[in-house]
Amino acid sequence: MVNLPNTPADIVPFIISIITSHTFITLVIFPGMIHLMIVSAFLTWYERKLLARIQLRIGPLYAGGIGGILQPVADGVKLIFKEVIVPYKADRTLFTWIPLVLIFLGTLPFAVIPFGAHWVIANLDVGLVFVFATTSLFPSMIIIFAWASNSKYPFIGGLRSLFQQVAYEIPMWISALSVVILAGSVNLVDIVKAQSKIWFIVPAFLSFIVFFICIMAELERLPFDLPEAEPELVAGWYTEASGAIFMALFLALYLKLYMMSALTTVLFLGGWWGPGFLPQPVWTILKAMVVATAIIIPRGIYPRIRVDMLIRIGWTRLLLIALANVFITVLVVNSGLLTAWGL
């Protein structure tokens, strides 16, 4: 318990005790706000450089000297000063505030994702379900924003995005169910601790594949790019977003990318476990970056999936494979094959 300051002379030690407390450090610095903002900005630069190299270009080069590393800052400053055009007869209130809600939803799950054995902001007993509950709010926010834009391209793009995310959310949950069965808990810290001998990608390999595909569909990344199909829909559901609103949406999308990568790492790739020469949080971030790279690279390689194929794959193939893997996991757990790995 903390000693509240009684006299004015107590205030400075009180503030110091708060600033150096573990809660404050996790909240604000790591894995809190500062780390999140830096990494998401870094991810925008990283994506552009990576795609550029795949497409035999150079990418950002000039901003900030070496390799355009300050390009995200330049983008942010530019977007803040751009004019925000609200479409004619659009819903101004919703148009302005929904991006803020999207940032909120993208950042909130980081409170439960562990970056190290003690580097978690809030160790919830229902951590994984908390993450899934917040990500399930995305489709409704997107369709409301698309509706609020009062324009045809966003509306069609928003509908497609809604049905796509809705179709791929259930296989995502079912494939995470395999991990929950193996670990025996939805507490993300416990799930990582259960992977001390072997990462869950090995027993639940099919689930990993399904989960990875569903993440790419949730993030609306190629090849599931249909809500943002540039030749067809200009920019999909955020066509009418400009200036600060677009910046907020952009930030929300990259936060979501980082969040999904970190979630994959925690669920399947062993979280913070790794050889001891690097501290635990560094392992988590490294693995999350590997996952993020694997999510970004298909954008430069694959063509877009057609919408009926997309819906069909989500509802039939992926759901059935995920369910089948739950059965397989049940059988494997029952047969006692996993005791060698301490599971």
Binding site: F81, V186, V326
Partner: protein, 122 residues
């Protein structure tokens, strides 16, 4: 300080709002005062052509099965999570109820999928 994790989450939520709120509201406030709705500047973007017709057109009823399946499988997924947490702690035969649960829902799922995928909705 040992805080209840939910309290920390509330603090985290407030922190997010505190830091990202000004990000969005300040530019909006900067442009807010002198703007009237101008039909030509605010015209929805359609690559240059003037938009015609209703933007928020009526949805088709054929898309209904998908949303409904999502609702049903949302509930099913949550119950499966509750079962999955304790799967290794209970005997194997107790889990047959869940198998029955899934099989009972399999028939309507098949019917819903057939209905949804048969016609050319997309």
């Amino acid at each position: 300080m040992a805080l209840n994790p939910w309290v920390v989450i509330v603090i985290w939520a407030l922190l997010i709002l505190l830091l990202t709120g000004p990000l969005l509201t300040l530019p909006y406030l900067m442009t807010f005062p002198k703007r009237k709705e101008d039909p030509f500047r605010d015209m929805p973007f359609e690559s240059g052509q003037v938009p015609q017709g209703e933007a928020r057109h009526r949805l088709a009823m054929q898309y209904y099965p998908y949303v409904l399946m999502f609702v049903v499988f949302d509930v099913v997924g949550m119950f499966l999570f509750a079962w999955g947490i304790s799967f290794r702690a209970i005997s194997a035969s107790a889990s047959f109820v869940v198998l029955l649960f899934l099989i009972l829902l399999g028939a309507p799922l098949g019917f819903a999928l057939r209905l949804a995928l048969r016609r050319e909705n997309w």
